[in-house]
Amino acid sequence: MSDTVKTDENIDGDKRDFIFIATGAVAAAGAASIAWPLVAQMGKAADTLAAGSIEIDLSKIAEGQQLKTLWRGKPVFVRHRTEKEISEAESVDVSSLRDPQTDDERLIPNPEGNLERAFLVMVGVCTHFGCVPVGEAGDFDGWYCPCHGSHYDTSGRIRKGPAPSNMVIPPYTFVSDTVIKVG
C-alpha cells in the first residue's frame, strides 16, 4: 500500500450510511443507559421512601390546641378545633374559594364512617413556597404564612395571598378511636 492508492474506490455508499447510522444508534443508546443512573441517583433513596408513616394520639391534644410534628421531613399540623372554628369553616360559601373544597372534604372518616370534625390533620406547609404557616393568625382565624402573606382559614383553605391551593391533607387512617396513622 502506498500513499497514491485511491481510497474512494469500490465504496458502497448505502452500506456506509447504514453502518454509520447503526453505530450511532448503538452509541446513543449506550450513552442514554449510562446517563440514566447518573440522573436517577438524585431521586429519593430507598430509606427515605421507607421512613413513611407515623402514629399520632389525638386524645392528648386539648381543644384549641395544635400538635406539630415531623412527617417525611415536613411538619404535620393536627388541630383540635373549637366549635367556633368548625362553624366558621362550614359557613363559607365554597364557590367563592380559590381552591373550592367543603370542610367535610378535608376530613377523612373513621372506620365507622363518621367524621371527627374537631380534628383537622394537614401538612403544615404553605402551598406557595413551602414555609410553615403560623397558627391562629391571619384574617380568617386559621393560619398565616409569614413568608409572602398567604391567609388560610380554619379548614386550612387558601383565602388570601399568593398561594395557589389549600394546604395538603396527608393520607391518614384511624387505627383506633383516638389514634391516627399518617402515611
Binding site: M42, G43, K44, A45, T48, K68, L70, R72, G73, K74, P75, H128, F129, G130, C131, V132, P133, V134, C145, P146, C147, H148, G149, G161, P162, A163, P164
Partner: protein, 427 residues
C-alpha cells in the same frame, strides 16, 4: 488567546526550547502586552477585581471545606467551630462569606458599566452572553453556598428557592423531589448542595477563560465606544493597566477589609445564627442582598408561576439585550436621552432591592393616612425594569438623535492636534 500579532522574542536557550514545544510563555507575554484602548477609565478595572474575587473565593472555599461537615447533624456546629476554634477561622470564614457579597458588588458594577457604555453591542454579543452565563452560575453557586451553614435562613431560603421548581406544571413536584433527594430539604439536599457548590466555581473559572478569550479576540470596548484603529489609540496592558487595575484593587480591598474586620455580619442575616428547624419558619424570610431585586420581582405578581416566570425573564432579558438595543451608538455619553433613562433604570434597580427587603403589605412611601406599599412599589419598578429593555431601548435607538462622536480615541484623549496642543480630554 489574543488577537494581536505576537511580539515575544525568547532570549535564552531554555525559553527558546520551551517556545518551540509549547508556546506558553509567549501566550503569557502577549497577554501582558495586549493593546488596550488608551482612554479606559476606572469602570474598566472590575475585570481584574472580579478575577481576584474568584481566586479569593476558591482559595478560602477549599480551606473551609477542610473543616466543614456536610451533614445535618454537624454542619451548623462545624461552621461555628471554624469561626471560634480553627486557627484563623475567624478570618477565613468571614473572608469567604463577605467575599461573596464583594464578588456580587463588583459584578454589578461591571454589568452596569457594560450597560452604560454599550459593551454588549456588535461584535461583543458573545462576550456579553458568556458574562451573563457566568453571572447566572454565580447566583447558583451563592445560593448553594448559603445553604451550607445550615442556619434558619439557609434552610428556609433553600426551601423557598427549590419551591420554584415545584411550580412547574405537571412535573413540578417530581422535579422538586428529585432536586432535594427527598420530600423536603434534608441531609440528601445538604450533601448534594455541598458537592455542587464545590464544583461550580471551577465551571466559572473555565467560563472566565472563554470570556477573556472573546475579549482579546474582539478587543476591549472603551468609554467613547469608538474602536481603536491606530497604534496611538492603544497602550500596552502592562504596565499601564496593570498599574491602574492595581490601584483599583487596593481601593476595593479597603472596602472589603472594612466589612471583613469591622462588620463581618452586616451583610448576612442574624437568623442564620439559629440552627435550621424544619418546624419553624423565621418571621421574615429574605435572601442575601444581591438577590433582593429579583425577589421583589418574584413577589410583584400575586400568582406563583407567573412570579417565577417574571423573575426568570428579568435575567433572560439580559441575554437578548444585544438585539433589543437598536442604536448603533455604543456609549451613552453620546445618547443624551437614553442616558437619562439609564439613570432612572439604575434608581429603579435600587428601589427593587429596597422592595425585596421590605414586607409587601407595609407602607414604603407614606402619603397622608395611607401610602404606597412595597407591593405596589415593586410593581411599578418591575414595569420600568422590563420597559427599559423591551420598549425604551428598542424605540429610542430609532428615534433618538445621538451627539457627534470623536473620530478616534487619540483625538478624544489628546484633543484635535490641528488646533494646537493637547486639549482637555472630553470628560
Amino acid at each position: 488567546m489574543s488577537g494581536h500579532p505576537s511580539t515575544y522574542e525568547p532570549k535564552y536557550g531554555a525559553t527558546k526550547w520551551i517556545d518551540r514545544r509549547l508556546p506558553i510563555i509567549r501566550v503569557g507575554a502577549d497577554f501582558m502586552t495586549f493593546p488596550s484602548p488608551r482612554n479606559l477609565n476606572y469602570w474598566y478595572t472590575f475585570g481584574g477585581i472580579l478575577t481576584l474575587c474568584l481566586v479569593t473565593q476558591i482559595i478560602t472555599g477549599i480551606i473551609l471545606a477542610m473543616h466543614y461537615v456536610p451533614n445535618v447533624d454537624g454542619a451548623f456546629e462545624s461552621v461555628q467551630r471554624i469561626r471560634r476554634d480553627v486557627p484563623f477561622g475567624w478570618l477565613l470564614q468571614p473572608m469567604h462569606a463577605v467575599g461573596a457579597s464583594m464578588f456580587f458588588l463588583a459584578v454589578y458594577m461591571h454589568m452596569f458599566r457594560g450597560l452604560y457604555y454599550g459593551s454588549y453591542k456588535a461584535p461583543r454579543e458573545l462576550l456579553w452572553i458568556i458574562g451573563c452565563v457566568i453571572y447566572l452560575i454565580m447566583m447558583a453557586t451563592a445560593f448553594l453556598g448559603y445553604t451550607l451553614p445550615w442556619g434558619q435562613m439557609s434552610f428556609w431560603g433553600a426551601t423557598v428557592i427549590t419551591g420554584f421548581f415545584g411550580a412547574v406544571p405537571v412535573v413540578g413536584e417530581s422535579l422538586q423531589q428529585w432536586l432535594l433527594g427527598g420530600y423536603a430539604v434534608d441531609n440528601a439536599t445538604l450533601n448534594r448542595f455541598f458537592a455542587l457548590h464545590y464544583l461550580l466555581p471551577f465551571v466559572i473559572a473555565a467560563l472566565v477563560g472563554l470570556h477573556v478569550w472573546a475579549l482579546h479576540h474582539v478587543g476591549q470596548n472603551n468609554p467613547i465606544g469608538v474602536s481603536a484603529k491606530t497604534k496611538s489609540d492603544t497602550l500596552s496592558f502592562h504596565p499601564f493597566y496593570t498599574v491602574k487595575d492595581g490601584f483599583a484593587v487596593a481601593v476595593f480591598l479597603l472596602i472589603f477589609a472594612f466589612f471583613l474586620f469591622y462588620q463581618p455580619d452586616a451583610l448576612g442575616h442574624a437568623d442564620n445564627y439559629i440552627e435550621a428547624d424544619a418546624l419553624k419558619t423565621p418571621p421574615h424570610i429574605v435572601p442575601e442582598w444581591y438577590f433582593l431585586p429579583f425577589y421583589a420581582i418574584l413577589r410583584a405578581v400575586p400568582d406563583k408561576l407567573a412570579g417565577i416566570l417574571l423573575m426568570i425573564s428579568a435575567i433572560v432579558v439580559l441575554f437578548v439585550l444585544p438585539w433589543l438595543d437598536t442604536s448603533k451608538v455604543k456609549s451613552l455619553r453620546f445618547r443624551p436621552v437614553a442616558r437619562w433613562f439609564f439613570f432612572i433604570f439604575l434608581v429603579f434597580c435600587f428601589i427593587l432591592g429596597w422592595c425585596g427587603a421590605g414586607t409587601p403589605d407595609n407602607i414604603a412611601i407614606p402619603l397622608g393616612d395611607t401610602g404606597i406599599t412595597f407591593y405596589r412599589l415593586s410593581q411599578i419598578a418591575t414595569i420600568y425594569y422590563f420597559a427599559y429593555f423591551l420598549i425604551i431601548l428598542p424605540v429610542l435607538g430609532l428615534v433618538e438623535k445621538p451627539l457627534a462622536r470623536p473620530d478616534s480615541i487619540t483625538k478624544a484623549v489628546l484633543g484635535d492636534q490641528s488646533r494646537g496642543g493637547a486639549q482637555a480630554a472630553a470628560e
